[in-house]
């Protein structure tokens, strides 16, 4: 880290020098008559600085991104080669061990049984026969299979331990043991091993354990690390100096420095606008990819995910129950999201719309000058603050009010409190969008209505609003999309139980709440439970995208009509 920082600083200095050298060289090339130059002298300076700094900085950045994993791979490859005798011994032991071959045979038998049971189950399901018995037996088989696999890994661990002690008790032996341990580890154990070794060797964070093998692995990394550090630093400096001298020689009176620089600049600008596309691509691809893995994990029962009535991802941790219990039915989440959005819209649309009408049609400019910023403040308050407000002020108030009115089962975390507060949050959104739309309605329409003798409210109701309707619909669609995607208010105020209910006084859960619950829980990333968050996010993304496109279309058409 330290070296890279110094090298980066040195590169910056070199770049500045490059600018000065380029400018000077331009004067030299012009032989005292700068007006002869194709471009202004500073363009030569900029161009030379570009050639000095950029390639070297790109190299450093590449090293920063890949350096660590490269060092890890090389060092561990070295150790694994040294562990080759241990690995060979381990393989022969495994092949000869009688317990293991017995266990493997048993597993093969069990898997065959499970195959049969599964096909029977499918048949029963197709024919509408008795499914439960097969499911039970399949579950039993899975339990047995897991038990046997546990035994196998125990046997393997035992053999591995007996092999590892054969290595001599010196540095070479430690290195061989490190390579052997790493070779045997599963991918996530490997990551842990590497993290710990690095922690011990370079002091990056804290190691979860400490052993001679880990220290040996860390020591094996160190020379590679040093080598890469210095070589990348040296290479970067060489590239910078090379670029500087080479480009300096290119500078002549006819050198088109400005055009070249502008070419680079416009390409860089284009690349920047490409980041937006890359972001969208990244979102779509990562959501799709992880969702596909999720659907594969639940045997492609996508219809059960979209139309199932029961959501309880906790059960699904046990291996063979995925999909069969219908635990990933997302309808309660969709219903909860819809309920809260509905409540929010019932608050935001009337208040926001009437506020916009009043501000654009009735209010004096002084009133507007005060009221508009107040609404904007409402829009600027972080959502987590709204969540806190809903949790501690609105929620208890609604519960007490409901109890007072005779509804005894009222809870603090209700759909009503979350929806109400979300509605407050969306008021400024609706009002500012509608305000724009109403202001875009041509004055001539209003004047025509007044000429017919309409009062102001009649003009608004019968002329302005119908004219602005498409725009207002677009605004409401955008507000709905906003409400669906809102997270913190519902996480804090709506509850986590997946109830399928239309009663706003009960607690419901939403798509976003479940995504947060699934991701912030402490399970492995590979489990179907975590992956289901991506499938939910895919639904959320598709839904909001559809709403946005629809809203933008509607608003665009409205604009065209009056422009």
């Amino acid at each position: 880290m330290q070296i890279s920082v110094y090298v980066a600083l040195a590169l910056l200095v070199l770049t500045a020098i490059g600018y000065l050298v380029g400018r000077r060289q331009a004067f030299v090339a012009a032989a005292g008559r700068p007006s002869e130059l194709h471009s202004l002298p500073s363009y030569y300076g900029y161009y030379l600085a570009l050639w000095t700094g950029v390639p070297a900085l790109i190299l450093l950045a590449l090293y920063g991104l890949t350096g660590t994993s490269l060092v890890n791979t090389l060092a561990m490859g070295e150790l694994e080669r040294e562990a080759a005798p241990l690995i060979r011994a381990y393989d022969t032991q495994l092949a000869q061990d009688p317990d293991l071959s017995r266990l493997n045979d048993a597993i093969a038998q069990l898997e065959a049984d499970a195959q049969v049971a599964r096909s029977e189950l499918d048949k029963a399901r197709r024919d509408g026969g008795e499914v439960a018995a097969y499911q039970r037996s399949l579950g039993d088989l899975t339990v047995e299979l897991n038990r046997l696999q546990g035994e196998i890994s125990q046997v393997q661990d035992r053999i591995a331990a007996s092999i590892a002690v054969r290595a001599p008790d010196n540095l070479a032996g430690d290195r061989a043991r490190a390579g052997f341990e790493y070779w045997r580890a599963t991918p996530d154990r490997r990551d842990l091993f590497l993290t710990d070794a690095r922690a011990l060797a370079f002091g990056e964070g804290f190691a979860s354990r400490n052993s001679s093998a880990l220290i040996a692995a860390g020591d094996a990394m160190r020379p590679w690390d040093e080598m890469f550090r210095w070589s990348s630093a040296g290479l970067a400096m060489a590239m910078a100096l090379g670029g500087l001298t080479w480009m300096r020689r290119q500078i002549t009176v006819t050198f088109r420095a400005r055009n070249r620089l502008e070419g680079v600049v416009s390409f860089a600008l284009f690349a920047m606008s490409g980041i937006a596309i890359l972001t969208t691509l990244g979102i779509v691809l990562s959501l799709l990819f992880e969702s596909i893995r999720f659907f594969a994990a639940i045997d492609w029962r996508i219809h059960e995910f979209l139309f199932g009535l029961q959501w309880s991802p906790q059960i699904a941790i046990r291996a063979d129950q995925v999909g069969q219990t219908g635990a990933f039915g997302a309808v309660p989440l969709f219903a909860g999201t819809a309920l809260i959005t509905l409540v929010a819209m019932c608050v935001a649309v009337p208040v926001g719309l009437f506020a916009a009408i009043y501000l654009s049609e009735y209010a004096s400019s002084r009133f507007r000058a005060i009221a508009k910023p107040v609404l904007e403040i409402l829009a600027g308050v972080p959502t987590v603050v709204y969540g806190f407000f809903a949790l501690l002020t609105v929620g208890p108030f609604i519960r007490d009010a409901a109890v007072l009115l005779g509804y005894e089962d009222a809870v603090t975390q209700s759909a009503l409190s979350a929806g109400l507060v979300m509605g407050i949050m969306i008021i400024p959104f609706v009002s500012s969008l509608s305000d724009d739309v109403i202001n875009a309605v041509p004055q001539s329409l209003r004047d025509g209505a007044y000429a017919m003798g309409a009062t102001k409210s009649e003009a608004v109701r019968h002329v302005v609003l119908p004219a602005a309707l498409p725009g207002i619909v677009g605004a409401i669609l955008l507000a709905v999309s906003r409400a669906i995607g809102e997270t913190m208010i519902v996480v804090m105020a709506a509850g986590q139980g997946a109830n399928l209910t239309a009663n706003p006084l009960e607690s419901v859960t939403t798509i976003t709440v479940q995504i947060v619950m699934l991701i912030t829980g402490d399970q492995e990333f590979e489990s179907a439970k975590t992956l289901s968050a991506f499938a939910l996010a895919l639904v959320l993304f598709a839904l909001t995208l559809f709403l946005n496109i629809a809203a933008l279309r509607v608003v665009e058409r409205f604009r065209e009509r009056y422009e």
Binding site: E262, L269, S273
Partner: protein, 578 residues
């Protein structure tokens, strides 16, 4: 003419009605705005009132003797030895000095429960920094536990003290005290408590009745069973209460009733039963010399109306804390720890420093990524891009990206930055990158608007005197559009400042007890940010975190106001209209 008359009449007839409709319509609009303003006032008002309690805290100052054998176990005064010392024992000894009569294990545990042991680590730091302190006595100031603090602030317990002037003889044997008065001084209290208990019995009876009634109505057998069990439980309670209220019986006080304490000097007794019509009583000794008996005339009642079962602080702890306060050792002062400490599991030690530093580091990354890239993209799209399908696609894409729920950006960060690129989770670097992607569309859109607002004559004039396109943009258009771009960017960044959901996805919700390094290496330290800190505290169980959450919200709101004030200032200063 004659045809117009009936029309005019009809119009005139309807006119008042139409005017009333007009008035109504206008009133709706005004109501809507009033409602919005009301919501805002309510929001800010409730957070302000809730936060007040967090800005002050009760702190205890004790003379702590740093005995050499306690804090310097090896006796060589080396740092290693000093770090192994048991500083909490020193604190405990200092606290025992204040209450020399407290002995039992349970009583001591209650005594040591009025502060959290982690305070000793600050004492350790003091001693390590200044080894000369060993063997000396220092005045060590530290916050008392959140429960005690809330009690002293009157937030969790309602109580009152009544001074009495009547002869009372007290006889203490072990843990039990017997009290005897000349008159029935205890009777009024007993009667009032009786009344409270009778009310409770009536409430239970009513509840049992209601449960039975709904059990009769329901058809679901499971539900009926539950309701019946509920009724039975309530009836049992009624019976127990009635048993205790039986006329003539000794009046017993339990943890569900208010506590009645009798205090004479430093002798404090909690009554457990009142007998002989309020003349005699027995009680549990909370604080007294081992064996003491005598008669007093000036004593006081200390009635703690909140029952012991519904509060987190015990009677004895209340006595300790109150006495320490009376001795002038506890004082209420500005809670500086809220700003100088990082997060902690103990509310009295929790502060926002870690989250503030994390926020600053995260925003630095976001600003340095989102603003240049966003401005660059806007310049390209507005000034250079050919009007073709690719450009249109990028434009549509940016508009849609601006409306993608923020949580999706968090998942993008999780799937791409953490799982694919292997960036360290929970760090400001990662959080800043995710927030930058989220802010980018806003920055691009507002920067394009600013560029659009520059009149074309500027460009044309520049091109007319022979500037290249790039020169026209960078030398003439960009400087004029800069203020507008800045304002738009700041508004987008303010949004990022308050964003929580995407950061939850990338692990910034983890508990981080140390503030990240406020420097270059801090970018890869695990940390959290203000909004996430608010979320973490708001989900904590301790009541004291409520006020701290509100206080943290105030800090965040101040940050956002500052951010927006900068935007407004820039707009005012550089705004130009053509």
């Amino acid at each position: 003419m004659s045809k117009l008359a009936p029309i005019r009449d009809a119009v005139m007839e309807r006119l008042p009605q139409r005017h009333r409709a007009e008035q109504r319509f206008q009133a709706y609009g005004l109501t809507a705005i009033t409602l919005a303003v009301l919501f805002l006032t309510l929001l800010v008002g409730s957070i302000l009132t809730q936060s007040l309690a967090a800005f002050t805290a009760h702190r205890l100052t004790l003379p702590v003797t740093l005995e050499r054998e306690l804090v310097d176990p090896r006796g060589d005064g080396s740092e290693a030895s000093l770090r192994r010392g048991s500083y909490n024992a020193a604190l405990q000894a200092a606290l025992r000095d204040q209450f020399p009569t407290v002995h039992g294990v349970g009583e001591l545990r209650e005594l040591f429960g009025i502060y959290s042991a982690i305070n000793a680590s600050r004492l350790l730091t003091d001693v390590v920094n200044n080894p000369d302190l060993v063997g000396q006595s220092v005045d060590f100031e530290f916050p008392i536990s959140d429960d005690a603090d809330r009690y002293l602030k009157g937030a969790s317990v309602s109580e009152r003290q009544i001074d009495m002037n009547a002869s009372l003889s007290i006889e203490i044997a072990g843990n039990v005290a017997r009290l005897e008065a000349q008159e029935a001084v205890l009777a009024p209290f007993a009667d009032r408590l009786r009344q409270v208990m009778a009310d409770r019995a009536n409430r239970y009876a009513a509840a049992a009745e209601a449960a039975l009634a709904s059990a009769r109505q329901t058809i679901d057998p499971d539900e009926r069973e539950i309701l019946e069990a509920e009724a039975q439980r309530a009836q049992m309670r009624v019976q127990q209460l009635n048993e205790r209220l039986r006329p003539g019986a000794d009046f017993l006080l339990g943890p569900r009733e208010p506590s009645l304490l009798v205090r004479a000097g430093d002798t404090i007794v909690r009554l457990t039963s009142i007998t002989s019509g309020g003349r005699e009583a027995t009680g549990e000794v909370l604080l007294a010399d081992q064996a003491w008996s005598g008669s007093v005339t000036r004593w006081s009642f200390w009635e703690i109306e909140t029952p012991a079962a519904t509060r987190l602080i015990t009677d004895r702890q209340m006595v300790f804390v109150r006495l320490l306060e009376e001795r002038g050792l506890v004082r209420n002062a500005f809670n500086a720890l809220l700003f100088t400490n990082a997060d902690s599991r103990e509310p009295e030690l929790a502060g926002v420093r870690g989250a503030l530093i994390g926020t600053i580091l995260t925003m630095v990354i976001t600003i340095f990524l989102a603003v240049p890239v966003g401005v660059g993209a806007a310049i390209y799209l507005e000034e250079f891009a050919p009007r073709n399908r690719l450009t249109r696609l990028i434009e549509v894409n940016i508009n849609n990206l601006a409306a993608v729920p923020s949580i999706v950006f968090g998942l993008l960060g999780l799937a791409v930055f953490i799982n694919a690129f292997g960036l360290p989770r929970s760090t400001p670097l990662l959080g800043g990158m995710v927030l930058a992607l989220m802010t980018l569309p806003t920055v691009i859109i507002s920067s394009r608007a600013a560029l659009k607002a520059v009149p074309p004559s500027i460009r044309e004039a520049a091109l007319g005197v022979g500037a290249s396109r790039t020169q026209a943009v960078f030398h003439h258009v960009l400087p004029l559009a800069m203020p507008g771009m800045l304002t738009g960017s700041i508004i987008g960044l303010a949004q990022a400042l308050g964003e929580t959901a995407p950061l939850l996805m990338i692990g910034m919700v983890a508990f981080v007890a140390d503030a990240p390094n406020f420097g270059f290496t801090g970018f890869t330290d695990p940390s959290t940010v203000m909004p996430v800190q608010i979320f973490i505290w708001s989900t904590s169980a301790e009541r004291a975190f409520e006020a701290r959450t509100a206080a943290a919200i105030l800090v965040l709101l101040v940050l956002m106001v500052l951010f927006n004030a900068v935007a407004i200032y820039l707009r005012r200063k550089y705004e130009r209209r053509w």
